[in-house]
Symmetry: C2
Subunit: 322 residues, 2 copies
């Protein structure tokens, strides 16, 4: 299960006889998995043609191109294609609604784009929204949450999904009861690459130990002192000028101030609550490290792709019952 | 006093017989004032050739071009040219030191670039730095602070200088005793134009009343609740999607969350302290409005250019004593 993800290579199309397709159509990337009825992955293709790069009319062609060579087991029936993610956004392929919390992460509301390619039964899954106490939306993460719940249906706690816009979802009784979002990942990127801080952070990546030390200290500062983030940002530049603060220490400090201030702002979600962190790679490791520094219980870790696939399988199972 | 600032127009060079030149060489802009010995402004020229756009070797030519047609009253002596701002930065014309606080804002340490044009006695003023409790630097603002003190030498309080990187300087006995800097202006620009929030803020500027109402409410939230800024940023996007939050209300909310969190982080600087706000235009008005919302005493307002000129006059007076 889980063939390696490869870019679609027109010279080498692995013909695969599929029962349905699982698709994660994000802002930057598109991934498609050829699935058996039992939920096994036969093949995987990936492309950079995410929602952020496509006009609405381009989706059918991009999808057809990506899955070229994958043959339905039963050509007499439309091939079910389940899509989660930003393809269902207003600026995506076909807008899918938001289900308002509290709600199970999967439910009714999937939409079928009118220009879906012939032979494909395309369903784009809805996102989730919240109106009180704060307006919130998510699109794509609900499928990963569904994947986590498929493995642990009775989970009562918080699911954290780090990313460009980190989400913290409270879950009980199979439902998302509330959630909140942070711009932390995007803020880091903007500050590190486009603000005055970029001068001192260029070249970071060579000294993980320096990064981690600065990160942990900055998380601690943010948790102890609410104003640490706004008051501390310019100081990263000043320390570079006055004390020769090295790039990795600067990047670690910036990351720690940001993630620490996020944790400080959503304490009730993680303090004394069972935690799951769904993510892949360095960013999830940083959130786990920050939670450890904050004294939270050690979270269960789920790989992002596995969670997405488990969620799409669960969505498929629900649709087969319709 | 105070001729209107105009771009250098080669077709119309107002010949001016000058005693010295006052120059504010910032990151984005360069402004030069032709001055009499008594400190009156005869003429002013401006250009977009700020430090951010120049290589080190370009400064002499840019300066000469800008002041073409301005004739020294006494051609037998080098014309004094006093420069404040980022021309003295590491990536500027010629690096001037930082004077460490506590210090009078003007003192020793002015540097003369070795490639100054013939006939000009160029002095670039030092900036200020701080090492404890936090590393801090400023370059250019110290001259505006000196201008404020020239008008009110006994001032004991805080001077706030809004800008891309807002500074809050504590002043007593003619000296800057400490200061702190915030990235607030730059953060607003990055979030409003490059983050996910840009979608909902496009077109802001048409409804100042909506902006101001949202601004005031958001300042109040940030002052009351430390986590309001990180927790509230994504909500501006969500409110745009779910409730049709209008661009001006969104921009006002973003600005209020940012400036409010800055005030929350530097409360000891403005709470129960005499205040001066040095700035020009909308941004200074926003800081003054935020301070009012926070219950601070009404600040005295100084126009940024007047403060810069008063500071350069004070620097000239000190140098004449040397």
């Amino acid at each position: 299960m889980g063939a390696p993800e490869t870019e679609a290579d027109p010279a080498v199309l692995e013909p695969a006889v599929v029962d349905w397709l699982a698709i994660d159509w994000g802002t930057s990337n598109l991934r498609a998995w050829a699935m058996t009825g039992a939920g096994e992955v036969l093949a995987c293709r990936a492309s950079e043609k995410g929602m952020g790069r496509l006009a609405p009319g381009e989706y059918p062609g991009v999808l057809s191109e990506l899955i070229r060579g994958w043959t339905p087991r039963d050509p007499g029936r439309p091939l079910p294609v389940l899509i989660c993610g930003m393809a269902g956004a207003r600026q995506g392929w076909c807008e899918a609604p938001y289900l308002p919390v509290p709600t199970a992460p999967l439910g009714t509301g999937a939409v079928t784009p009118p220009d879906a390619p012939a032979g494909l039964a395309v369903r784009i899954l809805p996102g989730l929204c919240q109106r009180a106490p704060r307006d919130e939306v998510m699109r794509g993460e609900e499928t990963q949450i569904a994947g986590a719940l498929a493995r642990d249906p009775g989970f009562d706690g918080t699911i954290c999904l780090p990313g460009t816009h980190c989400k913290w979802a409270s879950v009980a009784g199979g439902a998302v009861t509330g959630f909140q979002s942070f711009l932390t990942g995007e803020l880091f990127e903007l500050l590190a690459t486009r603000s005055v801080l970029r001068h001192g952070l260029a070249g970071a990546g060579e000294d993980p130990a320096a990064f981690d030390a600065a990160f942990g200290a900055a998380v601690g500062e943010s948790l102890a002192e609410p104003g640490a983030l706004p008051a501390g940002l310019f100081g990263i530049r000043a320390a570079g000028l006055l004390d020769g603060l090295a790039p990795d220490a600067g990047a670690g400090r910036l990351s720690g101030l940001l993630i620490g201030s996020e944790l400080a702002a959503c304490r009730p979600r993680w303090q004394d609550r069972p935690l799951v962190v769904i993510g892949a790679g360095r960013l999830s490791d940083l959130y786990a490290a920050a939670l450890a520094r904050a004294g939270a219980a050690e979270p269960k870790r789920l790989h992002a792709t596995e969670a997405t696939l488990a969620g799409l399988r669960a969505a498929r199972a629900l649709m087969e019952l319709e």
